[in-house]
């Protein structure tokens, strides 16, 4: 289970996370918040891309400060812009390179690559350059490249921001079917229906923690109030 204890972080003296303590145990967890709320930094602390100034982030007995590599192997991460995450020239090579560090042997590696490409409907594109795929297919490839390493948790940082409605739904359906725990950071409130738990982040703090049915109205209301206050001033 992912556990955050007293996590605080700042960039150039500006606090972006303030004393966040959380246990992330539920199967489907959504995190919502405005731009600049600290959401993206929070996402990056979960697999050690950002090691917080204070506090610890741990998965079981490993924490991101001392065992970053072990945590990262178990916590997969998907970014909003898939084209930056796709590293190798062709689709199959990109899926394969993530497996290289697991040293599974050529046969097992090839088998896993084939299986995941088929599962994501990318097998007909295996030798195509990744950058020629459509936006939705790119995000599927990014997901496939991460999931082929079989992480325990998948953290997604706004995976549908750059996608159209159809591709958003495709990614949504793919996420729904996963066996793994998913922590989804998003602006797209529709994605959260059916989630077990939703957190609302504002100004580096968790300001709401509950079921999606309550969290989403809370967030919408908070944003509207902020709008009105700004208009009054």
């Amino acid at each position: 289970m992912l556990r955050l204890e007293g996590v605080s972080h700042s960039y150039d003296g500006r606090a972006v996370l303030r004393d966040v303590t959380l246990d992330l145990a539920e199967h489907r967890i959504g995190v919502i918040g405005a731009n600049g709320s600290g959401k993206s930094t929070l996402a990056r602390t979960l697999n050690g891309l950002v090691v917080p100034d204070a506090g610890t982030v741990s998965l079981g007995e490993w924490n991101t400060r001392r065992h970053a590599r072990r945590v990262r192997r178990r916590v997969g991460f998907v970014f909003s812009d898939a084209s930056h995450q796709i590293i190798m020239p062709t689709v199959a090579e990109d899926v394969e390179i993530g497996l290289r560090s697991l040293r599974l042997g050529a046969e097992e590696t090839a088998r896993r690559v084939d299986r995941i490409l088929e599962r994501f409907g990318l097998d007909s594109h295996r030798d195509h350059p990744g950058h020629l795929l459509s936006g939705g297919q790119k995000q599927l490839l990014a997901l496939a490249s991460v999931l082929v390493t079989e992480p325990e948790v998948l953290v997604c940082d706004e995976p549908t921001t750059l996608l159209d409605l159809r591709n958003t739904r495709m990614v949504h359906r793919t996420l729904e079917r996963l066996d793994q725990q998913v922590v989804l950071f998003t602006h797209d409130l529709d994605l959260l229906t059916g989630f077990d738990r939703v957190l609302v982040i504002d100004d580096g703090r968790v300001v709401f923690d509950g079921a999606p049915g309550e969290a989403v109205p809370f967030y919408v209301d908070r944003m509207e109030r902020a709008d009105r206050e700004e208009a009054d001033r």
Partner: protein, 204 residues
């Protein structure tokens, strides 16, 4: 990533890149050391015959020679006027032969195989801290980045035109560079997130 490679199954296609490169170096060194005009002409003849023998269409041979003709002309005129015709003949034939042979190696070797050879040749650099896996990773990342850079370039040019800017074309390059720097940051982050390239030692 096919590049200049011409698919085929001739004898040169079947020879590994290492021996081909070695043979090229030996022939080149021999021609320069021997420095004999008839030997150079013989090598040029052999290089020309080589193309059809190994199954390369002759237009590839003419292609590289066409890129060379101003130099051949310069050598010919200059050496005949101020030197002797033997030197002119030797230098022209030598240059054309070596360029043809080197081109034959390139045309019959897949880019991936040649890069593999470069990686092996760079292996002694491991002593000074060059990790072969990272060398391979950078080469692959570059191949993947070329089309992305071309797209960034096109997008910036559209923005430049759309905003009606003109006269200071370097302003077109700046947004491209900034976008590339961002792209590199994001890619570096993804390399770490995906466990492909770890910063193995912790920060001090």
């Amino acid at each position: 990533m096919t590049g200049l490679y011409v698919p085929g199954s001739g004898p040169l296609h079947r020879t590994p890149a290492g021996p081909k490169l070695l043979a090229l170096l030996v022939v080149g060194a021999a021609l320069v050391v021997a420095a004999h005009h008839w030997l150079a002409v013989g090598a040029l003849g052999a290089a020309l015959v080589l193309y059809p023998v190994v199954g390369l269409p002759p237009r590839h041979a003419f292609g590289v020679l066409r890129a060379l003709w101003p130099f051949l002309l310069a050598i010919g005129v200059f050496q005949t006027l101020f030197g002797d015709w033997q030197t002119a003949l030797r230098l022209c034939a030598q240059l054309a032969a070596l360029v043809l042979l080197a081109n034959a190696v390139t045309l019959t070797t897949r880019v991936g195989e040649m890069l593999g050879l470069f990686e092996r040749l760079a292996r002694p650099l491991r002593r000074v801290g060059a990790n072969p896996d990272r060398v391979a990773l950078v080469l692959a990342l570059t191949v993947r980045s070329i089309p992305m850079v071309l797209v960034a370039w096109r997008t910036a040019r559209e923005g430049y035109v759309a905003r009606g800017l003109s006269g200071r074309p370097y302003l077109l390059v700046v947004p491209v560079i900034v976008q590339l720097l961002r792209m590199a940051d994001a890619t570096g982050e993804a390399l770490v997130a995906r466990g492909i390239d770890e910063e193995t030692r912790r920060q001090g």
